[in-house]
């Protein structure tokens, strides 16, 4: 698998969410992930894009969402950055706590962490960046096993 890096600057709309998900599906498939892994990667990207559009940029037409896809022999790395006020990580409740099970929101970050191998969230006053990493295994790594 050759190295590939693509970047998109997108509006703060629902179309961006769908576009990011579709692109993630395509790139993850091309990287050789199986159907279930592709679904998980695409869903993690979708959830991150929803956070960027809804909670980060709050649908502000003047703010953009920047999505980077980078793949190499070891990893698929997706970075999604918004231009909002920054996420307060301490205010994200545990969606599995009994008192939160019937809440209608607050599961996005949990699902992202469940589906990706590594997740780094970097909030700042000029926006939040979330870096999602999925390790490439088996044939997808050009016939070589990815380093563990």
């Amino acid at each position: 698998m050759t190295e590939q890096r693509v970047s998109y600057t997108l509006d703060s709309t629902l179309e961006t969410v769908n576009s990011a998900e579709e692109t993630a599906t395509k790139i993850a498939s091309e990287a050789g992930f199986d159907e279930e892994e592709v679904m998980k990667i695409a869903m993690a990207v979708r959830e991150a894009a929803v956070n960027a559009v809804l909670h980060g940029n709050a649908y502000d037409p003047g703010k953009k969402v920047i999505v980077n896809f980078e793949r190499n022999t070891r990893d698929l790395v997706i970075t999604i950055r918004d231009q909002g006020k920054g996420m307060d990580m301490s205010k994200i409740p545990d969606p599995l706590a009994p008192e939160n099970l019937l809440k209608t929101s607050g599961r996005g970050i949990f699902l992202i962490r469940s589906f990706m191998d590594e997740v780094e969230i970097s909030p700042s006053q000029t926006g939040t960046e979330i870096k999602l990493t999925k390790h490439v295994h088996g044939p997808a790594a050009g016939g070589k096993e990815a380093s563990q």
């Binding site: 969606p95 019937l102 809440k103 209608t104 929101s105 599961r107 949990f110 699902l111």
Partner: protein, 115 residues
């Protein structure tokens, strides 16, 4: 594929056949409007058939929870039928599988509603 719903009545239970994606935006709104409409008409025994729902995101999960709570708050019951593996797995990891009453056979699901 966007979400579609159609409803039918079986022995006093409203079965909502759902297909497509329940995601942020249209899919979630359609499910919300469908359940609200049923409740407003006094239909409080609702069986959501998710057999043709091939995708659901966190907003869709939230909408299922919202529907469950709305029906329960009006003294009704909402059950889920025919989960696909994807939806089943999502409800498992979010610990909602034990919150919802999940069925895999329509006839027994209908019988399971209180008379």
């Amino acid at each position: 594929m966007s979400m579609k719903t159609s409803t039918r009545q079986v022995d006093g239970v409203t079965i909502v056949d759902c297909s497509g994606r329940i995601t942020l935006g249209e899919g979630s709104v359609i499910l919300r409007d469908t359940v609200r409409d049923l409740l407003s008409k006094g239909n409080k025994k609702i069986l959501l058939n998710l057999g043709d729902v091939n995708y659901i995101d966190s907003s869709g999960i939230g909408e299922l929870v919202s529907a469950f709570t709305a029906v329960k708050n009006q003294g009704g019951e909402l059950k889920l039928l025919n989960l696909t593996k994807k939806v089943h797995d999502l409800l498992q990891i979010t610990k909602l599988y034990t919150v919802f009453d999940v069925k895999d056979d329509e006839a027994s699901a209908v019988k399971a509603f209180a008379k």
